[in-house]
Each structure stands twice: as C-alpha cells, then as structure tokens.
C-alpha cells in the first residue's frame, strides 16, 4: 500500500460489467513527506474519498478485488482508506 492524493475523477459509462456502479478516481502517488512523486493512476474508490483527500491506496490486483468484494473484477488499484495523520503530522 502507499500514500496518495486524489487529484481528479474519471467517468466511464461504457465499461466492464464488474466495474458498473464503482467510482473511479485519479490518484497522485505521494512520498513519505507527502510530496507528489510518480505518475498518477486510476483507482476504484471504496471509501467515498473526495478530490483533495489524502488516501491509503493499493496498486495490487488481489487486494483491490477484495476491497471491491468481487474477485472477478478487472481492477488493479483501489483506495482502502482516508488518512488523518502521518507520523503525528496532521493532514489538512
């Protein structure tokens, strides 16, 4: 898992059956100092994170499918949680 910041949304009406009804968010990976690091990617949201939220995100299929509750979903990344503190550094 890694830290990420939700920077945008991805809308897709015509998509794979298993993805229907799921929210797709654009996540920017963060370093431990919460700086932007790496290329943004798309993740399925399972915790209703809004744009601008700092989130806990996994980029591995098995856990993403588990978070979605559908082990046949073609999903490779999912948001597992919204982060409040990192090393007693309050997240605005």
């Amino acid at each position: 898992m890694m830290l990420g910041k939700v920077i945008g949304t991805v809308n897709s009406t015509l998509k794979h059956e298993a993805l229907k009804g799921s929210t797709l968010l654009l996540v920017q990976p963060l370093s431990e100092a919460l700086a932007f690091k790496g290329v943004p990617f798309v993740a399925v949201d399972t915790v209703q994170a809004g744009v601008g939220a700092t989130v806990l995100v996994g980029r591995e299929g098995g856990s993403a499918r588990m978070a979605m509750g559908n082990d046949q979903a073609p999903v490779h990344a999912a948001i597992f949680g919204i982060v409040d503190f990192v090393k007693d550094q309050k997240i605005k």
Binding site: K5, V6, I7, G8, T9, V10, N11, S12, T13, L14, K15, H16, L19, L24, L26, Q28, V39, P40, F41, V42, A43, V44, V51, G52, G61, A64, R65, Q72, A73, P74, V75, H76, A77
Partner: protein
C-alpha cells in the same frame, strides 16, 4: 489502472489459441494532463473501443479476468471508455 489513448490496432493470425477472437489494440498511456507518458503497449479490447478514443486500462493478472476465458495470456486490457478525465487543480494545491 491507467488512462490511455488508442493509437492503433494489431492483427495476428498466428497466435496463442487462447487469443482467438480477441481484438488487440495499441494503447499509449497518458498522464493526468493527457500527455503521452511511457511507451505504447498492446492491450486486449473488452468494450469495443475505437482508435483515437480514451480507454481505461487494467494491467497485470486482472487484465485476463476482463476477458471471457480466465486463463488467457493477456497482461493489459481496455476495460472502459473514458468519457471524462477531470483534474481539479484548485482542490489539491
């Protein structure tokens, strides 16, 4: 998962039997500003997307799960047609 632009198609008659009937596309991964990022790759199509459109792609083992048969030698698949990729700069500065 990433957003990519469909830039071409691949036709291969001699191929793994499991790949029969699967449309192969060339996709160019994009970053959040829709600028090309990284090199183009070949992806299997599962939603009937056309060249020039923006596709939502899944990599790894899950790409094969998007296809009718589960055990298919595919490591990238287009699983959605992106209508809108919206980056809200003002909320993340």
């Amino acid at each position: 998962m990433f957003v990519a632009e469909i830039i071409g198609t691949v036709v291969a008659t001699e191929k793994d039997p499991n790949l029969l009937g699967i449309t192969l596309l060339i996709v160019q991964p994009l970053d959040e500003e829709r600028l090309p990022k990284g090199s183009p790759i070949v992806a299997a199509d599962t939603v009937g997307i056309g060249v020039g459109e923006l596709g939502l792609c899944t990599g790894g083992r899950e790409a094969a799960m998007a296809l009718p048969k589960p055990f298919v030698p595919v490591d990238c698949a287009v699983v959605g047609i992106v209508d809108n990729l919206d980056v809200e700069r003002e909320k993340i500065s």
